[in-house]
């Protein structure tokens, strides 16, 4: 497989772009794999890539029910950041952000990572106190954070509602300049191509229908394309984790909920950063095509449907207009839903499971996209060594059993509150 380069681009341009090779193969499943990753989204593909690259495991398959990158990888709002307070989250997401900074080079694939800055607004004095504390904690962990006052925010993004009559006054904001956005599909494609080059079989249209176990081990993964023997199995199926786990009679500290996202008609550049609201749940950025990409809360009720409901849309738009009144006559051209694996403390679960050769990568709540490279990195380590990396040791399944939850916003064990 050839390397992408300027030279290749020129050469193929002269041939009318007719001679590009496939970016990854479309192999038939083999009888047995040393590691089977279920789910060819960003996390599954990144896990396979790092298993092959960092740990030298060659006989790997990634099974995908539909097409690769067609689940939450293609349904998010593409925000990348590491502005967390608790060590378990902060250090893990910071590792992920560092991997993002090198990712296009590492994969020889432009993931269009744009460090345009993520600004969290504070709309009350107590929120100012909270973001000050969070910013200081981040800096103690070596993560970049800048506290801005109202004047600085106004200079940076004048289009917010700074009027005296604004319902929610802007007090300031916490800025992480290294945060930003990336091209979500490119991340899946880049990892797929990279993994494929290292010999990983990516098998699409291959739904896992069940498991054959012996003792406390999975021996065979039953699929719509026949049974496949396995050494180790990793789940990277986000919102479908509960459904897949039920095929093993396994119950998890997770609920599946639907989260909607939206894109407006394309505009000239207006929103140069990722901006989040403090008075309601709303986050917005602008894509390279000009569409404003935004979202808010989940629909709040358990759901496996990749579609949401209208009251929530009204709620999100209301929050958006309170923050940026200038959006009021903008048309929404697309909206969609993805299934979030909401964990009981709002933090992910990456680690061993109650079954000996099964590993879990789930519980991503609203924030799985930014974790993609980091998640693959530590998940590969966990599978290869049958033990967690120090960065995901605190994000294990057993933390709930011993009451050591990693609850960033103190929401308690209520999945839709995180």
């Amino acid at each position: 497989m050839s390397k992408y380069s300027v030279l290749g681009l020129i050469k193929n341009a002269f041939n009318d772009n007719k001679n590009w090779e496939r970016a990854w193969r479309d192999p038939e499943p083999k009888k047995h794999y040393d590691v089977i990753i279920i789910g060819a989204g960003g996390h599954g593909l990144a896990s396979a890539f790092y298993l092959a690259k960092n740990h030298g495991i060659k006989n790997i398959a990634v099974l995908e029910k539909g097409y690769l990158g067609g689940g939450n990888t293609g349904r998010n709002t593409t925000i990348v950041r590491s502005n967390y307070m608790l060590d378990e989250n902060a250090l893990f997401y910071e590792k992920s952000l560092k991997l993002w900074e090198q990712l296009s080079h590492e994969l020889n694939f432009n993931v269009m990572f744009s460090q345009r800055g993520v600004l969290n607004l504070a709309n009350s004095d107590s929120q100012m106190d909270a973001i000050t504390r969070r910013g200081n904690t981040m800096r103690l962990n070596g993560i970049d954070a800048e506290l801005l006052d109202r004047r600085q925010v106004k200079k940076m993004i004048p289009y917010l509602d700074f009027s005296k009559t604004a319902r929610f006054q802007i007090k300031g904001g916490l800025l992480q300049r290294r945060g930003g956005t990336a091209r979500h599909d490119a991340v899946a494609w880049g990892f797929a191509r990279g993994a494929d080059q290292l010999g990983v079989d990516i098998i699409q249209n291959c739904e896992v229908t069940g498991f054959k176990t012996k003792g406390n081990n999975i021996e065979i993964v039953e699929t719509s394309r026949g049974p496949i023997g396995c050494g180790k199995v990793g789940f990277a199926v986000a919102g479908s984790t509960g459904h897949l786990a039920s095929k093993l009679g396994m119950k998890l500290p997770i609920e599946s909920h639907v989260l909607q996202a939206f894109v407006s008609e394309p505009l000239k550049p207006i929103i140069d950063h990722v901006v989040t609201f403090g008075a309601g749940h709303f986050y917005i950025s602008q894509s390279d095509k000009g569409g404003l990409v935004f979202g808010g809360d989940i629909d709040m009720y358990n759901s496996y449907a990749q579609k949401g409901n209208l009251p929530l849309i009204e709620d999100v738009v209301t929050a958006g207009l309170a923050m940026i009144p200038g959006l009021s006559r903008l048309r929404i051209v697309r909206h969609w839903g993805g299934i979030m694996d909401m964990s009981m403390d709002g933090s992910p679960i990456i680690g061993k499971s109650p079954i000996d050769n099964l590993y879990l990568n789930c519980g991503w709540c609203y924030g799985g996209f930014k974790a993609t490279p980091g998640s693959g990195w530590v998940f590969a380590h966990t599978i290869a060594n049958d033990a967690p990396h120090e960065l995901n040791a605190g994000l294990n399944f057993d933390r709930f059993r011993v009451g050591r939850s990693v609850d960033e916003n103190g929401g308690g064990p209520v999945p839709n509150r995180h």
């Binding site: 358990n302 409901n309 009251p311 839709n416």
Partner: protein, 96 residues
């Protein structure tokens, strides 16, 4: 919009309700006797079914009562509603 039949107020939009959550979890009957495993199961573990789910909603802008709802998590169709004490799953299975 999901339409939920409140036992007191009749058929209403789900935007009048607050979602409470899984109604199949039962708090240990004798808290002082329950072991860690029982608390772990009650507080953290959920069936999270892809299909029929028994759950509580509260009619916050109506009568404020808790309503038990049997709903399909794939289609969002409400299959049955009743009082908090009703076992909707049992009666739903029996009628099927």
């Amino acid at each position: 919009m999901i339409r939920i039949k409140c036992p007191y107020c009749g058929l209403r939009d789900h935007s009048e309700f607050n979602y409470i959550g899984d109604a199949t979890k039962i708090r240990p009957v004798s808290p002082e006797l329950a072991n860690d495993e029982e608390w772990f199961d009650y507080i953290y573990i959920r069936d999270n079914p892809r299909g029929v789910h028994q759950e509580y909603w509260q009619h916050i802008t109506g009568c404020r009562s808790y309503v038990k709802v049997l709903r399909d998590t794939v289609t969002h169709e409400v299959l049955k509603t009743g009082l908090p004490s009703d076992d909707l799953l049992f009666s739903y299975e029996a009628e099927k």
